[in-house]
């Protein structure tokens, strides 16, 4: 259940960003989570909504944009993507050697504040 500590980091980070910009209420938070980040969006939302009470984010909605896993094969140099959480081999040439291009994200993208 490491989503709990990630949700806490997220909450601390967005409150800090809000205050640093001279605002006092967070209306919404938009984040992106890669399929291979090891974080379950539902679990993260659940914890975020549980811990935001009594903070300036108490009415904030959390929007999660899931990012597909994409990689570049080191053998045939083709790019590929998958809906799965993991890649085991290149679908074009079956090589096991590839570099992950996206899918590991765990980023805050945008805040709506007042």
């Amino acid at each position: 259940m490491h989503e709990a500590s990630i949700a806490l980091s997220l909450l601390e980070k967005v409150i800090e960003e809000c205050i640093n910009n001279g605002c006092s209420i967070i209306k919404s938070v938009k984040i992106e989570i890669g399929r291979a980040s090891g974080v379950m969006p539902d679990a993260l939302s659940f914890v975020f909504n549980a811990i935001k009470a009594d903070t300036i984010a108490s009415s904030a909605s959390l929007y999660i944009n899931e990012k597909m896993l994409t990689a570049m094969c080191n053998k045939c140099h083709k790019e590929f993507s998958t809906e799965e959480n993991y890649i085991f081999e290149c679908p074009h040439c079956n090589s096991n050697s590839f570099n992950i291009l996206s899918g590991k994200e765990l980023n805050i993208i945008e805040l709506e504040v007042e």
Binding site: M1, H2, S5, I6, S9, L10, E12, K13, V14, E17, C18, N21, C23, I31, A36, S37, G38, V39, Y86, F88, E89, N96, S97, L106, N107, I108, I109, E110, L111, E112, V113, E114
Partner: protein
């Protein structure tokens, strides 16, 4: 008003991990983050590793567990500086836990630090602590299906130590499948087949540390 932010959610952890990294580099300490499921043999491997390397390295250990000091007591018995972290329910170690602990270790007198993470095949792989490498232990009693069921940890580790191979004759475990699946997940990984009980294979592991870890920071 909308604020474009674009920052990492785990920014705080990442920042503290980089601070740890700088301390380790300044002090010339090579750091191995050792991970596995509970009971795979991380502490037994550390005991064997300390015995094999104590004349070559100044070793220190950070023990991570949800609760208890059993592991730290075992390491302390080998006269190696050790600090126990109790996460109090947390499923992994994070960078700030390590930073707080460093003050309790004689870091001027250590050049090889092992961080034994909380026994868990999932979450520890997500949190960078400032280590040089991640290494993991898989015991064959866990079954040959584990690499493909928990791929992230196998993909992130520079070394995989397969433990309890003395039990292979008594188990329905497909060793070939373990070897094949680990290499498919991580073609460049260093792989060791060992038994902490009999000592088989420990030598290859400690030699690898000597060549790949101890030489790197001198």
């Amino acid at each position: 008003m909308k604020l474009k932010v674009v920052s990492k959610i785990l920014d705080a952890n990442e920042r503290i991990a980089q601070e740890n990294r700088k301390i380790f580099d300044d002090k010339k300490i090579f750091v191995i983050n050792l991970m596995s499921s509970p009971g795979a043999g991380k502490t037994s491997l550390l005991e064997q590793t300390i015995k094999g390397l104590k004349d070559f390295a100044k070793i220190g250990v950070i023990e991570g567990d949800i609760t208890g000091t059993d592991d730290a007591i075992r390491i302390d018995a080998l006269n190696v500086p050790v600090v126990q972290i109790n996460t109090g329910g947390g499923c992994h170690l994070d960078a700030s836990m390590i930073q707080e602990t460093l003050m309790e270790l004689p870091i001027d007198d250590i050049n090889l630090l092992f961080i034994e993470n909380v026994g868990n095949l999932v979450c520890p792989a997500e949190f960078y602590l400032g280590e040089d490498i991640k290494a993991m232990v898989l015991s064959i009693t866990e079954g040959h299906d584990k690499p493909l069921k928990y791929p992230m940890m196998f993909q992130q580790s520079k070394a995989v130590v397969i433990n309890k191979i003395d039990l292979a004759p008594y188990l329905d475990v497909d060793m070939e499948k373990i070897r094949r699946d680990i290499l498919s997940l991580n073609p460049t990984v260093a792989k060791f087949e060992i038994s902490c009980k009999t000592g088989q294979g420990i030598n290859q592991w400690t030699e690898w540390i000597k060549t790949n870890c101890l030489c790197r920071k001198h």
